[in-house]
Symmetry: C2
Subunit: 312 residues, 2 copies
């Protein structure tokens, strides 16, 4: 985990933080792991193979960027960490299910994920479909169960369902599927990623804000919206860069797949140097969006740095 996110805690243009990144990040990662363990059915509960697969797909790996964004946004509104744990678990379960289905033979046909065999390689294709389906339902079950008011739960539900829907993540995957072998314009590429990965990153941030005791003020909403747009796009640009510059051991998945599958990428469209410059520019834009929020946005600031400088 620490390898993937090598960032300076004392980022030169960053504001002072409430809790140092060196303690905050491992603490939130540990909380998230424990919360996921609680919100997922235990592995000795029937049907045990399904539950084992759901836990294999979700626990013990991943950058947990969505959980970290959720907690960091929650700090801006004095959200209780127990509520944030539930929201972060829900969004990580949606992310995990999307990877399981994305890796299926009919989709990307990936054999390796987080350095381990993908779910369909380990459990078979039929069970992998059910693991994904069960994780999606479990994410919404987690929203219904977390310790918050009915109004908060409905705000979280709205955000997560919309981000996961055909107007969000699943819609982006459908566009991705249809785009293989086609030349996309930069606008089309951006629209695809805004849905495919951006919608859930955006939801992670807004769900964190909805975990606070009061409705999200318009000024905060506007700042977070600017932030999420820049971070979401930066995430994808860096993903495309890593696909051509990294190796399987560091990446935990097969690199070079996009070019091989003839998928449109930023590197293919802009070249490597311009893609790197774009990622830096987006990082700057994300940090600028946080300026009006003051020192409480410190962890969101760090997370923008991490997204731009991540090595896997």
């Amino acid at each position: 985990m620490s390898e993937a996110f090598q960032v300076r805690a004392d980022s030169p243009d960053g504001p002072a933080m409430t809790e140092p990144l060196e303690t905050w990040m491992p603490r939130i990662l540990q909380r998230t792991e424990q919360a996921l363990d609680r919100y997922l059915p235990p592995k000795d509960m029937e049907p045990t193979v399904l539950h084992d697969g759901m836990r294999y797909a979700t626990l013990g790996g991943g950058k947990r960027l969505r959980a970290l964004l959720c907690h960091a946004a929650g700090e801006l509104v004095d959200a209780e960490e127990a509520v944030l744990d539930g929201a972060a678990s829900a969004v990580e379960m949606i992310h995990a299910y999307s990877l399981v289905h994305d890796d299926l033979p009919a989709m990307d046909n990936d054999l390796l994920r987080r350095g381990q065999p993908t779910v369909h390689v380990r459990y078979g294709e039929a069970m992998a479909i059910l693991v994904g389906d069960g994780l999606q339902a479990q994410a919404f079950a987690a929203i219904s169960e977390l310790p918050a008011s009915p109004s908060q739960k409905v705000a979280l539900l709205k955000e997560l369902a919309s981000a996961s829907s055909s107007l969000g993540m699943v819609g982006g995957q459908a566009i991705d599927l249809a785009s293989v072998g086609h030349v996309l314009t930069r606008d089309q590429l951006e629209q695809m990623h805004r849905l495919k990965t951006g919608a859930l990153l955006r939801a992670s941030i807004f769900m964190g804000a909805h975990c606070g005791p009061a409705p999200v003020p318009a000024s905060l909403h506007a700042a977070l919206d600017d932030y999420q747009r820049a971070v979401g796009l930066a995430f994808q640009v860096v993903d495309d860069i890593l696909d051509v510059t990294s190796d399987a051991a560091t990446l935990g998945k097969t690199p070079g797949k996009d070019a091989q599958d003839n998928k449109p990428t930023y590197v293919a469209l802009l070249g490597l140097d311009a893609s790197r410059a774009l990622a830096e520019e987006l990082g700057k834009r994300a940090r600028a969006a946080l300026a009006p929020l003051g020192p409480r946005a410190g962890h969101l600031h760090d997370l923008a740095d991490m997204v731009v400088h991540r090595i896997r």
Copy 2:
């Protein structure tokens, strides 16, 4: 539709009804179709192929048993029909997604559903996976949007997420998958169906009850629980009977698949005559559970008859 549900409106042992079945049923079916049309993204919205697939899988077919059960239970608690429309749409979307994924080559590999090519035959396997995923998210989006209080929405969310989860429908499918080629005891077969189809039928009924303005009273909860258990099991027993006695034209799907796939069924376990007797007995048990609820349970009473006497 009317062919599938040939029942006497003047069922001899049934109580008087508020609205005659002959007008109530087509009215609710039409409301459900219109509500699904509203709660699903329009087909001219991007990505259009995905939305076309989601609408193909959901609209213009099916018995709508779950929507009817939801509305019939809602009548017991003076629920507003606009709220019931949203709940019924959500549960029908979950049902539709489960059929799309169930029909996939890696699962049951079915080519025909409701007399039409299955979604993967028409749109390809990858898109069918996304159609199912998108429908599940859209069901939860519908819950977030329907015109009810936050407390009602959370009650509906809890019911639907739990019924769709690995402890409900998806869990039943995993057990079904693992049971192919194995001999199940009657208890094991009942447990599988209680999850695979029973959980969502149960949710349809309880969601209808949650659409009322007040929490569901314990006595009503107990009666509905007895009812749903009998109706859910009757539904499956009749399914197994139809699989060996019906033809593709009537059934709208390929009959004889269960025997061919070496799946455990009630007919295989008990024989045809004993299965028919069991279905009748369960119908009686369902009607008996409604006795304390008086004439307002008339439509639930009719629906139990329909489940036992359906021909597809």
